[in-house]
Amino acid sequence: MLRAERGWSQADLGAELGVSRQAINAIETGKHDPSLPLAFRIARLFSMQIEDVFLEAQP
């Protein structure tokens, strides 16, 4: 997991992105799909492309 590889807690990542720790948890567990702006912020934070961070759900 990208976050864990960097040794960040959910609260650390939430603080970096300006969202709650609960939001990070919900995104990581697949219970919440982030908005496009938030997805871009996440990708930018990890210096990656969005499609490298998020996998498209298969129908």
Partner: protein, 170 residues
């Protein structure tokens, strides 16, 4: 909902989801039970006086169980300013408020229908200042806590809030 001010600790710690479920349910049930017990036995003596005291006790229980809910993360979601919430919390809030609005509308409609037939059917209706005061604070309590109740009891929201990392879920 009204007059909510986010405490510094909201979102970092606090009662678990299961605890808030219990507290909000007890509060929402105890208040009308207490208020009605008092109203139906007002001005009594002897045994009836005990009903009044029991009614006051239930109202006290309602207020004491509501207090921890008001400062919780769950109340922050339904009551804080939109600018203080992130997109995930706003989604949960919208779902809770939408459900609570429907329930509150039904409760209001039932109350209006009851009031319309109560005097003809010789049923109890509020008349004194004390009774209207109790009714006002009951409506206030429901307006404040009903969205929280839907937030913590909704299976979808509870699942999204479920978290093994904190005390949100017991």
């Amino acid at each position: 909902m009204l007059f909510y001010r986010s405490p510094a600790s909201a979102g970092t710690s606090g009662p678990s989801l299961a605890t808030i479920r219990t507290l909000v349910t007890v509060s929402l049930l105890a208040y009308p039970a207490g208020a009605l017990t008092r109203a139906l036995h007002a001005g009594g003596t002897g045994g009836l006086r005990l009903f009044e005291i029991a009614g006051l006790g239930l109202i006290l229980v309602s207020l004491l169980t509501a207090a921890p809910v008001v400062g919780s993360y769950f109340q922050k979601i339904v009551g804080d300013k939109a600018g203080q919430l992130d997109e995930f919390e706003l989604k949960l809030r919208q779902r809770a408020l939408s459900s609570a609005y429907g329930a509150f509308t039904v409760l209001t409609l039932v109350a209006v229908i009851y009031a319309a037939i109560a005097s003809d059917a010789h049923l109890w209706i509020p008349r004194t200042y004390d009774e209207f005061n109790g009714l006002f604070w009951g409506v206030f309590l429901y307006a404040s806590l009903l969205p929280t109740a839907f937030l913590v009891w909704s299976p979808a929201s509870a699942s999204e809030l479920a978290d093994s990392n904190t005390r949100l879920v017991d």
